[in-house]
């Protein structure tokens, strides 16, 4: 894949991918953008191994998910992810409050449940693709999804 081709893929995918990561990072813009950039660089370096370009988006999410898990582990070692998510992101004055309740609920969910819920509801991925992305079986993903939905329902109702 040439650099120009890769950039065109990035331009087409970056908005949805960053949204996915922002939800995964529970509203921490800086962390989500860092993971997005790192994931794209990893994807660029490994782009020769991508044999089916139509699978770019799910492949990218797989890289993003793994990068997120690694970052979360590193963050947990140094600080708490919840505390990191509370760091105010400069320039984003939006709508951040609009999703505060959702982010607070997502923050209280385990990573696997959160990922399954985000990929299924926000990104519209089928169970099989989610299983490929997170590296779990389809039944495990269904379980994460069902538990995540119940968790989210409980947390948002509070």
């Amino acid at each position: 894949m040439t650099r120009e081709q890769f950039i065109s893929y990035v331009e087409a995918s970056q908005e949805a991918f960053r949204r996915f990561l922002l939800a995964l990072c529970c509203g921490n813009h800086a962390l989500a953008d860092d993971i997005a950039q790192e994931s794209y660089i990893k994807a660029y370096l490994a782009s020769d191994r991508l044999t089916e370009p139509e699978k770019f988006n799910s492949w990218l999410r797989q890289i993003g998910y793994n990068t997120f898990i690694n970052q979360a582990r590193a963050l947990k070692a140094s600080t708490d992810l919840d505390a990191a998510a509370d760091i105010p992101a400069s320039e984003i004055t939006d709508g951040a409050f609009q999703y505060e309740a959702l982010y607070a609920a997502l923050r209280r969910m385990p990573d696997k449940e959160r990922t399954a819920v985000i990929l299924f509801y926000i990104d519209d991925y089928p169970i099989k693709k989610i299983a490929d992305i997170v590296g779990a079986s389809q039944s495990a993903v269904k379980q994460h999804l069902s538990r995540g939905r119940a968790h989210l329902r409980g947390l948002l109702t509070k």
């Binding site: 650099r3 890769f6 950039i7 990035v10 331009e11 970056q14 908005e15 960053r18 949204r19 922002l22 939800a23 509203g27 813009h29 953008d33 997005a36 950039q37 794209y40 660089i41 660029y44 370096l45 320039e91 984003i92 939006d94 709508g95 951040a96 609009q98 999703y99 959702l102 819920v117 985000i118 509801y121 926000i122 939905r149 989210l152 329902r153 948002l156 109702t157």
Partner: protein, 126 residues
């Protein structure tokens, strides 16, 4: 709260992101840096390959020369005052020749490798 409400919240998730142009500019800068590192690695691998080839040839040539010249040197040594005095210790002359040839070959290969690498590096920096 029912499932439909949760679905609606998640389906309607459209948060404001940092500006696209800033994200892309930062990513392209990083990609340029990666590209530079990749080019440097390619050049380094190429230089290493050339240096290895030169070292192999140099080692082989010097080893062959030493082996070919060995009978002349030993012949000259045995007739000159450098002849090894007779001792109780038996010295295998062939063994000495092979050891000398191997040492000369290894040293030549190492020097050729280092010199080639330095020259190619200097040429690239110019």
């Amino acid at each position: 709260m029912d499932d439909d409400k949760i679905k609606d919240i998640l389906k309607g998730y459209r948060p404001e992101l940092t500006p696209d142009f800033r994200f892309m500019a930062s990513l392209e800068r990083k990609m340029e840096a990666v590209e530079y590192v990749k080019q440097e690695m390619r050049a380094l691998r190429r230089r290493n390959k050339i240096a290895m080839a030169v070292a192999t040839v140099a080692g082989f040539v010097m080893g062959a020369l030493t082996t070919l010249l060995a009978p002349l040197v030993t012949g000259w040594a045995s007739t000159s005052s450098l002849a090894i005095p007779s001792t109780d210790i038996a010295i295998d002359l062939n063994f000495l020749i092979y050891i000398t040839a191997a040492l000369v070959s290894a040293l030549s290969a190492y020097n050729a490798y280092e010199i080639t690498l330095a020259r190619l590096g200097r040429r690239q920096n110019l």
